[in-house]
């Protein structure tokens, strides 16, 4: 609807190579009025320069659905979505990488055993299957995952050999940063302090994420 490419950000002109990069870098905000003007100026004969520019900023068509609506800023219409960005985005990918990590370090058995030992708790149901055996995840289960994952990982990886110690440490820090970020995002009210926390957790995650680099799925 924004008239942008399928994998580009409606808010800012982030190049497609830097989507997973440093969150501190600030990109220029999308200027939909400018795109429309450029598209209007364009003459049918010469489309070369414009197409190149649009490709660079990830825009498909200059005149999108919202063109001509005053007081509508298309960049503001996109809303972050906990279910799809965090539960089905961040957590799901993270678990795939954690699985790869466990497989490499042969910690899967300990991980599954610890997971089965979690006691009952209000609003928290004990998972019956091993993590790998569950094929489909619901939002609620993913939400629960945020509660047990760091504790279970810490317990499952409690006996590292000397060579593994550093890897285990950075894995735990990375996972806990992601979990902290998701918990902070779920807060119902925010203060300037919590916003600072959100940013700092995200940065910690990005600093530590290289531990997952080899577990591409």
């Amino acid at each position: 609807m924004h008239g942008i490419d399928s994998k580009s950000c409606p808010k800012c002109e982030v190049p497609c190579k830097e989507l997973g990069e440093n969150p501190q870098k600030i990109y220029e905000a999308c200027d939909y009025i400018l795109y429309r003007e450029k598209a209007l100026e364009q003459e049918p004969g010469q489309a070369g320069g414009l197409a190149e520019y649009f490709q660079q900023v990830g825009v498909k068509i200059g005149r999108n659905v919202f063109t001509g609506l005053h007081r509508v800023n298309p960049a503001d219409l996109h809303k972050p979505d906990l279910l799809h960005n965090i539960y089905h985005g961040l957590f799901k990918h993270m678990m795939e990488w954690v699985e790869g990590f466990l497989k490499k370090h042969k910690g899967q058995q300990a991980f599954d055993d610890t997971r089965k030992d979690i006691p009952h708790y209000p609003r928290f149901s004990v998972p019956k299957k091993a993590y790998r055996e569950v094929t489909q995840w619901q939002g609620k289960e993913m939400c629960n995952l945020g509660r047990w994952i760091s504790a279970v990982l810490a317990s499952g990886l409690r006996n590292p050999e000397s060579s593994q110690q550093q890897d285990f440490n950075s894995l735990l820090k990375c996972v806990s940063a992601a979990v902290d970020f998701s918990l902070m995002a779920q807060l119902r009210s925010h203060t300037p302090d919590t916003l600072v926390y959100i940013e700092s957790y995200l940065q910690t995650f990005h600093r530590r994420k290289n531990i997952f680099l080899e577990f591409r799925t």
Binding site: C16, G20, P23, G89
Partner: protein, 140 residues
Amino acid sequence: MADPCAQETCHISAAKCRGQADQNRVQRVNQRADLIRQENHFNSIKMHYLTHFASHVQRFGSILMYSAEMGELAHEEKIKECYGKSNKNEAARQILSQYGRQHALAMRLQTIEALSKAENAALIAKGGMEALASSQRAPR
């Protein structure tokens, strides 16, 4: 009046143009996807969205309000279950009336509950009065 033959060729060329444009677009989308895939696996749009969370909170408030979870749950409860209860003939009308029926039923249940409470209260009050009266009568 325009020549029908010329009109037809015009149509065909327009269709061709559109087909060409579609092909170009598909090609471009594929190129872009390849570019994204070449980078490491953190390079996904979902990862990038996370960077906008804090600024979004500052401008619009809590993120929980905008979660898609509510809408999906409501879809499940309000529409899918009601569709299951309908006889599948003109289902939309039945789904809409289902909500009204549930609402009316809940109201009636509440009324009955309130009435029964009031009745009990009246009974107790009556019983209390009688007991009082009998206790007053007893000394005589």
